[in-house]
Symmetry: D3
Subunit: 137 residues, 6 copies
């Protein structure tokens, strides 16, 4: 019997910009386009957290989805939702808030917090309905 | 023969906050909750612009959808996309950027720009997948 | 200046069946098809509650969306979510739980609960992604 | 007690082009852009058929949704699905197959076919996820 | 040349509850929360069945999607749709109907029924728009 | 540190039919059903292009999403959008335009065009909301 993968989806809404301090304004706009707007822009992010495990013989759970949701809310949604990703969030301070960097940071934040009996398998983050990133550690 | 209603959908991503300068920080948080975060947050907005008219006997169009799209992009998406709705946009300066105020402002911006033969009927704006506002003038 | 319409979306998951006690099993299956299954079936319902009003000159709100959400949760989601629509819910007891009857019942439940300054305008309820009902009072 | 509106959603996939025989190729491309491609293009259409009525006191139905679905399939989906809208469909022959013209043609096709006790209220047709048309007769 | 993966999506609507007979009501509510409601609740399930194979040199198919759909309907949708997952379905009798257990049961039901030339690769089942499970055997 | 996977989504609308010239009309309809309609039908295709790489230490990008989008538009969307997949497209000429064959052809078209620092990982193509194919080379 192989593993089962369970995914919980949560959402958050944040502001950010893509900007390298060491670069000129001209170079920032050349590389990041309108994402470099100095007064920020923002997104409705959709986060998919996937864990793997063997369903418990009695409960049929690999994880209690309510508990998984609470962990995601405590460590990810609470610090990121209605925040500025460049300024407000301790665990991504100094990190360029691209979708690629965010999936790695969210993975690193969650990987040691998983409930007993399941393991973090994949982080998937949708920035818009045209872009998403995935990370499997 | 009644009118036909044609809707064109466009998207933009913006930062904003809800904050009354004349109020204390405490009152701002009491009224606006986490939307008052001083460093902004943001959304993927989905805009639906509906026009009404009688289809042309030859083309079958009430409006050329490419022309309608160009008008929406010039007057709405270009000024709002990847911008800060409190700071960056001339036609909503001084306006609290709630979804309610935005649909009225977008209506006022577009109502006189419609191509000949069709009339603006409705503006619908989705701020998240749980909130949208509509305005019919 | 016309009214603005603001819609808040909430979800609930319920069991139900369509069955007339006074009819034979044969007639129930003839009229209701597989919806008559005696051991119930269920749906993920998506509810859209639309209110109308004039945005406040300071806050830009016709209604505080958090307060509207709390009202919907207290009077609709709490009693209906993870419940049996034929057995468990006081305000629809004795009502055939079709989508048509549910939108009217939800309207009647909410119409007197709206916050000052806004009025209930429309209830829309999606039973599946192929069926929805609307009621405007 | 007001009317209830019930909507049934069905889908079909068709080919078409926008082309006026009396015009030059140059003028066709100028007016219709890439929609004038002589070898056709196509869409996944999503059709929403809305009827209005008073729910039956016993069944709670304004219409049997299975019967409504059968009517839509017989008169609309069967003739349009996996067909060429310029060439294959008797009830739109000679009509430019724009979304605007299609909603009127579908209305005219369905308005006299409604089951007793309900009336056709609105036809809504999505051509892509950026364009839809509505017709209320 | 590697394998191609083809996915067919089907839907079903069912009632269920999460309840261990050997436990007290108190413990059932503690573990399963509102999913333990004795009178059931239900969901619109969305099922994705993925098969893998090499496209046929003439037809371009790894599987006839109509045949794949018929198999899914016969072995999965027909027994589960508009049914009670705790009471009505032979192939999951005695199984706690969590999303995790359902993907394994659906895999076991389908794995030997695949048409010649393709193999079952993955079962994905969405219980709500916030939870889905996957199983690859 | 593992790879990050970034996906860009683009859309195109095309006509096609499934038809083997060497076969009788009867056999074509038997194998391909209504997809064999001689006057074509069509779809709104949704294409997901996934690349893998290590985020750049300064920009946080594995690829500039605008550049990736330009490549997809030049090599895939431009030749396929508003075209006939059996007649109009050089890089799939002679290929049966099933979803299975299209994902392989799109992979082959894109695999050598990826920007430095990232590699093509997966092509996913949705033909309707009930069918999609994936190819990983």
């Amino acid at each position: 019997m192989g593993k089962v993968y369970l995914t919980r989806i949560e959402k958050f809404n944040s502001a950010h910009k893509l900007w390298v301090e060491a670069w000129s304004e001209e170079k920032n706009y050349e590389v990041f386009g309108k994402c470099a707007n100095p007064n920020w822009h923002g997104h409705n992010y959709t986060l998919e957290v996937t864990v793997s495990g063997i369903p418990d013989a009695i409960t049929g759970f690999i994880v209690d989805a309510k508990e998984l949701s609470s962990i995601i809310k405590e460590y990810i949604v609470e610090p990121l939702d209605h925040r500025n990703l460049n300024l407000d969030v301790a665990f991504i301070r100094g990190l360029m808030p691209t979708t690629e960097n965010l999936v790695m940071a969210i993975w690193n934040q969650l990987v040691s917090k998983m409930p007993e009996g399941c393991a973090l398998y994949r982080i998937k983050l949708h920035e818009t309905d045209k872009i998403y990133a995935e990370y499997l550690g």
